[in-house]
Symmetry: C2
Subunit: 254 residues, 2 copies
């Protein structure tokens, strides 16, 4: 047994529940854990045996439940994930606290370490960057609700974004079926609708003339789908499969 032996989502939930119960009351009792997780006591006993056999809690039948050193570390890690996600949802996405909490509860189990760090960093960045900050986030509120505007960005929002918001609503339904460059068969033409690529790749594409609205023709797709050969404004280009998946298009009659 290494550092932490890959816990199941369920066992993580137990760990988290125990952590909070110990914070609030003195000791963790089976009954409380069962109540918190909406589970029957018998299920808790089973979980306790599992956690105990992994060396995360001190447990013997009818006795009190405490963390081992490893267990406390594991529990804190789960709680950290939970809080980081919740904070992100509340502060950046302006979601209601309760909704954020429930969502974090579900998502804390399936987020990878690198991505979690990104979420945390992004929340901090928004807080700290002079170009973003609270007022900017308030602009996002307006973008979503059309009625919770603060002092500053207001006029900009009203004039510049109103039509974009309308636009977005109009094609709301059409967006369900998104085609990417990967879905286009050789010989067919397509118009670029949106480019969803990371910054560097995105810039490269723009330099090659791959802008929204431009028309491209798929020439050939290599055996494994990688790369895709296309023609764009008269030039031949090779696009990686990875990148082709981030280029949303709209099929055109050839």
């Amino acid at each position: 047994m290494g550092i932490t032996d890959e816990l199941s989502a369920s066992l993580e939930d137990y760990l988290e529940a125990i952590y909070h119960i110990i914070r609030e009351k003195q000791a963790a009792r089976v009954k409380d854990i069962a109540a918190r997780l909406h589970v029957k006591a018998a299920s808790v006993t089973g979980a306790m045996r599992a956690l105990s056999s992994k060396g995360l809690i001190n447990y013997a039948p009818f006795e009190i439940i405490t963390f081992t050193r490893d267990g406390e570390i594991a529990a804190k890690d789960v709680v950290r994930r939970h809080n980081a996600l919740k904070d992100f949802f509340v502060k950046v996405l302006s979601v209601d606290t309760d909704v954020a909490d429930k969502a974090a509860c579900e998502m804390e189990h399936c987020i990878t370490k690198p991505l979690l760090e990104r979420f945390i960093q992004f929340a901090e960045f928004v807080e700290v960057c002079p170009r973003a900050g609270t007022k900017w986030i308030r602009g996002f509120g307006y973008f979503c609700d059309h009625d919770s505007m603060g002092e500053n960005c207001e006029t900009c929002m009203r004039t510049n974004l109103a039509e974009l918001i309308q636009n977005r609503k109009d094609k709301g339904e059409t967006m369900n079926e998104k085609l990417t460059l990967r879905d286009i068969k050789p010989g067919k033409k397509a118009k670029v609708v949106k480019v969803a690529l990371a910054d560097t790749a995105s810039r490269r594409m723009v330099e090659m003339g791959m802008t929204v609205g431009s028309v491209i023709e798929v020439v050939r797709i290599a055996p494994m789908g990688d790369p895709v050969d296309i023609k764009l404004k008269g030039y031949h280009l090779s696009v990686r499969k990875k990148e082709a998946e981030g280029i949303y298009v709209e099929e055109m009659p050839s």
Copy 2:
């Protein structure tokens, strides 16, 4: 059977796999599905029976697999979730395409509808808001990596953020154990470290004098932990449990 009968994560994966295979080849075959999901053929047969009995695919032993109307709708919904998350990770969080794709694969199953919409809206907002946009996101890249800077925010970042970044690193380890106002026992004092609340609630708190660095004393906690009575700069305040959980503090000697 209503509109969609609550699919398991596993069945959603099968639906998604079938969708992509049908896009790429003409027909979906058990072998291809098995290969794509890293699963044995026997497992696929089982899943096909389940999907068929839910009325999502047309399936009979040894015959070809196609979507029913309902099935195609359900599959497109899963794909939409996947792509929305992936786009968000790539465009907003500047994560590598492959990492984003894998993460989306896991998270697509446990995200709620309202939150998903927020993710989509936020990505669009960043794209569309004049104060955010690509250059700003590039600033986030710098915040994370310290070396992928574009033209514009550069000087600001270097001068204003350098120390903040350093600061963040310094206390990186301490942040593991985050205390919130909820963890403070009556009679104890605490210093506010961070306020993670939605915009409106956050403003209200600031108006009451709850700023980072201010010292508060917990007077009483009501039976169910709600509300928490505190003393702040001489005034008495009642704080909701929900809000108390978003106020990060650091315990102080009383």
